[in-house]
């Protein structure tokens, strides 16, 4: 019997998850980066004994506290949604998701909450060095919390270290270290946290620039700009490096995402990377229209970045759907890519084997059980394709991924320019007079948030239709609940999270207007 699934249920469930994740990520990156900036400032205070640095530390610490308090627990909603809206997925991933999230919860509670208390309540109550240690441990604790959730996300992008158990319909962790040290997971963690550091540095530079425009707290602002710009510049360089690592992993493990990021419909040898381009809205992978109305590209760079070979072949959307191109597998052996039609066929064999395995198990027929399990395991890598009926459904939203990727990259280089100029003007002692730069630096704050959201759009929209790459699409992951319930909670979240955002902006603005206080 064919079960009919309402597309609007999937879309509303996805929209709700996206809304929650995007709002959550408005709060998280500033916490991750500002914690380190504060720790660095306090280190300078402890080493020099200069009370101006204590004033600087305390001011940014208060903004860190506001952001932490408003943002804390916003991620818990995502876990609620797993159980309610994505119950098939929740069950299917089993302990692989549960273990990292449990570790995250315990670490976040004990490390962050303990040392944050010392950070805020401990001035003059504990020694300077213990207070400083608490600030650093808060920063490391916050970032370690991010490690676990990003490892879990990395596993969804590239599932490793597990085995599917057909008796329980769950994936069981076979190797914890394979999950933790998955190349996708590690790159994702490093790229994500460094991007958070850049956002935080832009925030500090921007707010300090605002003080300088108003000719307030000149020394405070200059010193804040120096620390944030150095921190931001170092982080930016690492961000570019980790971005390259992420793109390399995407090329190997998620070629469709890479093709979407570049709007690459037909594969090419010596493929260039697009610096700026406009997509042709008429383009489909089945027609011969040009993919871009306009483009500026750097020749051969996509091949080099994706495969470390300037002449390598980069498969396009059409190639990935039709197959037939050659690629190197994980063991470095040359393989011919199979078509999506064939993957769908093998996925359906895997699903049928699972059903027959269950029947054989219920009938007590062990030999049939073994045979069907073997067929299931042979085809499990395409398990998720069995839920698809049309090869086109593996193509994500190309314009959204393409433009998000290019905006993110362009903004990353813009931020580097801001840090370099800030340091140059401070070094030349001209920063106070460069009003145009100060205004630009202040206006760059929202751009840092836009870059963050674009990064997540590339990562998540770029891998659609998969919840778990190649193993489970959204259509199989969603709970069969009433669409109206999802719609109602979508708007409830929208109201609550918007309220939190308004509270954050208004409390923070008030605190910034008040400015740093002499301690």
């Amino acid at each position: 019997m064919i079960e009919h699934i309402d597309l609007s249920l999937i879309n509303w469930s996805r929209a709700q998850f996206a809304l929650t994740a995007m709002y959550h990520w408005l709060f998280v990156p500033l916490t991750l980066g500002l914690a380190f900036i504060v720790a660095i400032m306090e280190t300078i205070y402890v080493r020099t004994g200069d009370v101006e640095w204590k004033k600087i530390t305390k001011f940014w610490m208060i903004l860190f506290g506001i952001n932490f308090a408003i943002g804390v627990s916003t991620g818990i909603i995502l876990e609620f949604e797993f159980g309610t809206n994505w119950s098939n997925y929740s069950w299917f991933v089993g302990d692989i998701f549960g273990a990292p999230l449990a570790i995250e919860g315990i670490m976040a509670f004990f490390m962050e909450s303990t040392f944050i208390a010392v950070m805020f309540f401990g001035w003059n109550k504990v020694s300077k060095k213990f207070h400083l240690l608490s600030s650093w441990l808060t920063a490391f604790g916050a970032n370690l919390s991010a490690l676990w959730i990003l490892v879990a996300n990395g596993w969804m992008q590239y599932p490793v270290g597990m085995q599917f158990n057909p008796d329980t319909a769950r994936n069981e962790m076979m190797n914890f270290w394979d999950v933790i040290f998955s190349p996708i997971g590690i790159n994702k963690f490093l790229h994500t946290i460094t991007s958070a550091y850049v956002l935080s540095a832009i925030f500090v530079v921007g707010i300090s620039a605002w003080f300088l425009i108003r000719k307030r707290h000149i020394l405070f602002s200059k010193r804040s700009i120096i620390v944030a710009s150095v921190f931001g510049l170092v982080s930016s360089l690492y961000l570019v490096w980790s971005g390259d690592g992420s793109a390399y992993q995407v090329a190997q493990k998620q070629p469709m995402k890479l093709a979407a990021m570049e709007g690459l419909y037909n594969g090419q040898k010596s493929a260039g990377i697009i610096v700026f381009g406009v997509l042709n809205p008429e383009k489909e992978y089945t027609n011969d229209e040009e993919p871009h109305l306009f483009k500026m590209e750097i020749p051969k760079l996509l091949s080099f970045l994706g495969y470390r070979n300037a002449d390598a072949f980069v498969p396009g959307i059409k190639d990935i759907i039709e197959g037939g191109y050659e690629y190197l597998d994980e063991n470095g052996k040359k393989q011919s890519a199979i078509s999506t039609d064939e993957k769908i066929e093998r996925g359906k064999i895997a699903l049928a084997s699972l059903a027959k395995y269950k029947e054989a198990k219920d009938a007590g027929n062990d030999s049939l059980k073994i045979a069907h399990r073997k067929t299931l395991e042979e085809n499990f890598q395409y398990f998720g394709y069995g839920f698809l009926n049309d090869p086109k459904s593996i193509v994500p939203n190309i314009p959204l991924v393409f433009y998000s990727f290019h905006i993110m990259v362009a903004l990353a280089f813009w931020f580097i320019l801001i840090f370099v100029l800030a340091l140059y003007f401070v070094y030349k002692d001209q920063i106070v007079t460069k009003k145009w730069f100060l205004r630009l630096a202040f206006l760059t704050i929202p751009l840092a948030y836009i870059a963050q959201q674009c990064g997540w759009i590339v990562a998540e929209v770029g891998r659609q239709p998969w919840v778990i790459q190649d193993i489970m699409p959204t259509v199989a992951a969603v709970s069969q609940i009433d669409t109206r319930a999802v719609q109602i909670t979508f708007f409830l979240f929208l109201i609550v999270f918007t309220g939190l955002l308004i509270a954050e902006i208004s409390i923070m603005s008030k605190q910034i207007k008040t400015g740093p206080k002499d301690s």
């Binding site: 019997m1 064919i2 079960e3 009919h4 699934i5 309402d6 597309l7 999937i10 208060i62 506290g65 506001i66 308090a69 408003i70 804390v72 627990s73 818990i76 909603i77 609620f80 949604e81 159980g83 309610t84 809206n85 119950s87 098939n88 929740s90 069950w91 299917f92 208390a117 010392v118 805020f120 309540f121 401990g122 109550k125 504990v126 057909p166 008796d167 329980t168 319909a169 769950r170 699903l351 049928a352 699972l354 059903a355 269950k358 839920f387 009926n389 049309d390 259509v475 199989a476 709970s479 069969q480 609940i481 319930a485 109602i488 909670t489 409830l492 609550v496 939190l500 509270a503 409390i507």
Partner: protein, 78 residues
């Protein structure tokens, strides 16, 4: 330093910290309201765990998910 002294100092760290909060009071109010909305309103009224609510044992849950996975699916607009 004896144990009671350490506990006393930890107690006063938190006690004095909470007592002397300025902006922290507003933030704690927001945190508590937020937690109430999340854990009482959302969790209780809107976000019951689908499998926990509908099935009692792990066997029932896995049977249900297996059935979900192995039933051919078609989107209504396919």
């Amino acid at each position: 330093m004896n144990r009671s002294n350490i506990f006393n100092r930890i107690f006063h760290l938190y006690y004095d910290g909470f007592k002397n909060m300025t902006i922290g009071r507003k933030l704690w109010t927001i945190i508590l309201i937020k937690l109430f909305i999340f854990f009482v309103v959302f969790k209780v009224f809107f976000f019951s765990d689908f499998l926990e609510t509908h099935f009692k044992t792990d066997v029932e849950k896995s049977d249900y998910v297996l059935k979900q996975l192995t039933s051919p699916k078609q989107l209504k607009n396919d």
